[in-house]
Amino acid sequence: MDEWKPNPTVKPHKKRSWYLAWKYKLMNQRALRKLCQTGAVLFLLVTVIVNIKLILDTRRAAYEEEEESAQDYDDEMLNVEAPRHPVNNKKVLDVEVYSSRSKVYVAVDGTTVLEDEAREQGRGIHVIVLNQATGHVMAKRVFDTYSPHEDEAMVLFLNMVARGRILIFTIKDEGSFHLKETAKNVLKSLGSQVAPFLSWRDMWTFVGKKGGEVYGEKHAKSPALSTWGDPVLLKTEVHLTSVEDAECHWPDTELNRRRKRFCSKVEGYGSVCSCKDPTPIEFNPDPLKDNKVFDVPVAVIAGNRPNYLYRMLRSLLSAQGVNPQMITVFIDGYYEEPMDVVELFGLSGIQHTPISIKNARVSQHYKASLTATFNLFPDAKFAVVLEEDLDISVDFFSFLSQSIHLLAEDESLYCISAWNDQGYEHTAEDPSLLYRVETMPGLGWVLRKSLYKDELEPKWPTPEKLWDWDMWMRMPEQRKGRECIIPDISRSYHFGIVGLNMNGYFHEAYFKKHKFNTVPNVQLKNVESLRKDNYETEIHRLLGEAEVLDHSKNPCEDSFVPDTEGKVYVMFIRMEQEADFTTWTQLAKCLHIWDLDVRGNHKGLWRLFRKKNHFLVVGVPASPYSSKKPSSVTPIYMEPPAKEEGAAAAPAVAAAEQT
């Protein structure tokens, strides 16, 4: 098992040996050789001339096309036949796989399809899926199985790959530390002999067909804890099957043609490519009666997370009242796979050459996407802005249809957002309830065209300013005291854990327990009360009705709120001036809601639910609602944590900004 051989000498390339054989044969005859030489020179000359002409012509053609001048149609046409390459009928692929501490690579027929020698990244098991008929790369993944749970993701992925595909594995640095039994068994079932015994810092390469033969496996054991196994290079051949064998035989419909195109190109999308029982790619959800947002364009902002995009678009296209014609997916970069996903669903997609770096890149991508949206839909007064890592609630459009007139008519509104920053499983209760908040949550929101065109677009942060677009939009210079409308229970769900500022821990802590509406056709309650002045009346009514909680108790304890249901309670916290969130932040922390910055406030008031009771928090004396505080009650003050903890929290805040 552990045998280690020096690299066998490289076999001459097949094509070349065929060519050499011919050459030598011909060389045996002098005359023929002469003839050949002359022929070759002539051929060369002709090729050169043809090529030069082709280049010149192509240039001219390109130039003329660009000019858009009123050329005669005939002048632009050139009767040049593109030289045809002979169809490659080769049935065998040469595969090279390399595994080592600092570098991995995979070459298929001499073309490098994976090369990773970057420091400090790409650790773990790299997996490549090839189409068994064409040899094309259908998926490329890396699972950092040195870290926990990544092996589960790998198992999930491998299970989704269709039978018959060619799988290539290689380890960079370390891939065994958190590679659990289940994962090892899956690798074993694929035919790996080594996988069950893979251990600390072993090097490993494996090529096999899912549900079929093994094409090769190599392994180098790490001799000691402190060192890595020797690099291994696996060279093997894979026999291709016919295209028919590699494809499913779905009925020939337009939808299935899209499916076929998609499934022969990419892997890892599971049942959508199942031969027997493929999951639908057209959803036809119920239309919405009197849909006010049917003609509102929907911009989906995407990067290179095609699996996320796939999940996102599925939920979006399943939402009642969706109008697929209004959806445009904006992809930040020339990535093929997200575009494949877009085409699978028959939507339109636009790619965007990356400008600037990191947050500024995201910011420029947003600007380009929003501008393009209003160019493409010049009649639109609004645009819905979504991101690729959101699930969309079944009543998302119904929610917007019922509330969008407010954004049209109430100048004091900045946006409508589907996301309630404070809407967790234990703090959100009423799907028909809306709030006004001074913060802009993003994560599925509606933008007014006039706001964008007149205010935001002209002064959007330029690429050299490394700003987050959403932080910039939240700044007082932009927001100008305006508010957003949000639902108590969010109409979007943030599922992304791989992102610019995202990691598993962060997601688990702040997003996983977020409440997400799954009830269709929710009739929103009292939408008119969300208008600027009406809302004040509503708040005063609520506070008038609210029962003041016992301020001698600890607000973090469950017993702070009585075991009732459907009541309204109010508590008062200390808030010296408008920007004093000391006590609020501590309260938010112990209630396990968003505490990384202040969200969800309206004039020093927060509204949430505790134990199915409406729970109001008023900041005294900064809030205008302080007058509702009975004189006997002393506002609760909560100490900020010790200094060093605060320092440690600072980077987390930075990380939380763009989510």
Binding site: E254, I350, Q351, T353, A372, N375, P378
Partner: protein, 426 residues
């Protein structure tokens, strides 16, 4: 029973019933797929226009003869508003089953052209459906910012069959075009139910000067590479005001039916950077003196733009200036046509000196600018070069209207007794 009808009528008058049949099939195809096409064929609309009263009054009446769709032509032109259909491939499959050969001409989407580095899918601009000896040219119209419809040029690419139809003879596609959104009317002509523009003559009039120029976005990007854009708050504010002033001016002049174009600095801004030049401080428009109307001044005043000054007179060197919101001025120059050139005048208030600015002759094209459909000289480069000289690409911040323009000439002095009339300052 159209087939019988055309047989009889067609053969009697020696006309081409093939065309009628192809049009009927095409209309069947599109209505079968719920695709609302409308007729824009200028030759047919020209005939229809003559009988428009009668056609309007009897929308269902049977035709005694085949008057419109039987004239032997190579093709008939229809229009389709892009957003009214879903690009279903089913249409083409049905078309093929009916015996049509079809050709699709796609190109890049101009609505994304102005955007940095976006590459969308190419969009269909024209379709040709051919059956027997007749072809249907289907022009796809797109909505553009500025509330108008746009169709693209027809350019053939490499592998296309250039003999598919006589492309040169097509009525649409030599240039891109800009149109108002038409009101449509369902009529029955030659026993075919078809949508036509409600007012065919105004559509034909519009068509005769519909040529559209796209802004030179690529060059504008290159310009901003060289001279980064002014993103200061002042610049943002000025652009916003200039844009709303231009919108107001366009609304006012369009209501009067007065044709105007972007002139001077505003034209340079469009041509050079596809935007308002932030340090230009005013908005400049040109109007041919033959289009002058006395209502212009009161119309602007009613729109909330007081007259600031009036120089010259209708017969000579007329120039109006209105005060927009917050220091932004609207200058309207009137242009006088001579045999071999066009000019406008200038007047120095304190000295009564006259100036003349000469331009080579030009025609007007549509363009899109700050979400507005406006005219610019089609021969923009010559226009801009005449005004700003060969160095027009270099931004100049200090500008003297009496000496800086490349094409300025002294033009004498106003006689003192005319001053009260030709130099009015408010």
């Amino acid at each position: 029973n159209g087939a019988a009808f055309s047989k009889v009528r067609g053969s009697q008058s020696g006309q081409d019933s093939t065309r009628w049949h192809v049009v009927r099939k095409f209309l069947g195809l599109t209505s079968g797929h719920n695709i609302p096409v409308y007729l824009i064929d200028p030759l047919i609309l020209g005939l229809v226009d003559k009988d428009i009263e009668q056609i309007r009054s009897s929308p269902d009446g049977p035709s005694p003869e085949c008057k419109y769709f039987c004239a032997p032509r190579d093709f008939t032109t229809f229009a389709l508003l892009d957003k009214t259909w879903k690009h279903e491939v089913g249409l083409f499959r049905t078309a093929e089953k009916m015996g049509f050969q079809w050709l699709k001409i796609i190109n890049k989407d101009p609505r994304l052209d102005g955007m940095d580095d976006l590459s969308g899918m190419e969009i269909p601009l024209h379709y040709i459906f051919k059956l027997a000896s007749h072809a249907i040219h289907l022009v796809v119209f797109y909505e553009r910012s500025g509330n108008f419809l746009w169709h693209g040029p027809l350019r053939l690419k490499q592998p296309m069959d250039r003999k598919f139809v006589p492309f040169r003879k097509l009525h649409f596609g030599r240039y891109p075009g800009a149109y108002e959104k038409p009101e449509l009317l369902l009529v029955s002509i030659d026993d075919l139910k078809v949508q036509i523009p409600k007012n065919p003559s105004s559509f034909l009039e519009e068509m005769s000067h519909s040529r559209f120029l796209e802004c030179r976005y690529r060059e504008a990007r290159a310009f901003f590479q060289l001279y980064p854009d002014d993103a200061s708050l002042d610049a943002v504010e000025f652009r916003k005001k200039a844009k709303s002033l231009l919108h107001l001016a366009a609304l006012t002049l369009n209501n009067l039916g007065v044709k105007f174009w972007l002139s001077s600095g505003t034209c340079l801004g469009w041509y050079r950077q596809c935007n308002v030049i932030p340090h230009s401080k005013d908005v400049d428009l040109g109007i041919f003196i033959r289009d002058y109307k006395a209502d212009i001044i009161p119309a602007f005043q009613n729109a909330g733009l007081p007259l600031k000054h009036k120089f010259g007179k209708v017969e000579d060197s007329l120039e109006l200036s209105f005060q927009g919101e917050g220091d932004v001025k609207l200058d309207i120059f009137f242009f006088y046509e001579e045999d071999d050139h066009i000019w406008n005048g200038g007047t120095q208030a304190k000295s009564g000196k006259k100036f003349k600015y000469l331009f080579p002759k030009f025609t007007l094209c549509w363009t899109e600018f700050v979400e507005l459909k406006v005219h610019v000289p089609c021969e923009t480069l010559q226009y801009v070069e005449a005004n700003y000289g060969p160095e027009w690409r270099v931004p100049v911040k200090t500008w003297d209207w009496k000496s800086s323009p490349f094409n300025v000439q002294d033009n004498g002095v106003w006689p003192i007794d005319e001053w009260d009339n030709v130099i009015q300052i408010y």
